[in-house]
Symmetry: C2
Subunit: 127 residues, 2 copies
Amino acid sequence: MATGSNRKTKQRDALVSVLERAERPLSVAELLEAASKRIEGLGVATVYRAVGALLDDGRIDAVEIPGEPTRYERSDKGHHHHFQCEKCDRVFDIAGCLDNLRKLVPPKFRVKQHSVMLYGVCATCSR
Amino acid sequence: MATGSNRKTKQRDALVSVLERAERPLSVAELLEAASKRIEGLGVATVYRAVGALLDDGRIDAVEIPGEPTRYERSDKGHHHHFQCEKCDRVFDIAGCLDNLRKLVPPKFRVKQHSVMLYGVCATCSR
DNA sequence: ATAGATGCAAAGGGTTTGCACTTGA
DNA sequence: TCAAGTGCAAACCCTTTGCATCTAT
């Protein structure tokens, strides 16, 4: 996926480092806020463009949760899905995947990607 | 879920009937376009409000696809998932479901709902 | 009569884009 | 040098809301 040139700038460095340290997927707003502590005057557009570049390069993945702004996370976590707790709203990574998903589709349909979101109550909130 | 009063109006009748005949989930824009053929001067806000009322009453369900406008479908179709074609952007219903999804989560996590989205190329666009 | 529904237009939130300016290679 | 990146503001898309006007009951 590595497209184009991608210069090294302090803005992108800051954003990458925020994403690298993050323990959970972050939204653009969260990225902006976190990185602004280091880069003053950082603009939203820059964050969106950096995020776009990182997505193109496959360095991060988008975590999309209906009704919420898209979050982003390092892509080196491998293929996985997410679980959102309805009590605490936290999003957890779920290892593993059902690869027989493609069996579900009608003939002639070609499946290239899929996403699975699980909702329920996490271990902590279950107590 | 049946809330409030819900008057019978020609606008809502038209929208319900469009939804009832639809073979795939429809966006507000699609609903507006379809229903406008019968109700001239139909406004977007009316569609949104009608959709909201139908959701409250549990007569339709929202199909949320990241990066795309929410689509709506009759709620009496039973449990199923969706497939979006990357060529034509249409969303199709996929019968069946992998119910071993719950096996993916760590112990103590309780799964109550899940959603599966498949992406690829539909039969028509495959040709 | 009157609460609920409608249409319009304005406003809101998230995301993208045009443009002049800055900066990394 | 000069293409790529930045910041700002305007533009966009989807959705919601305020308000004066209808309309079903």
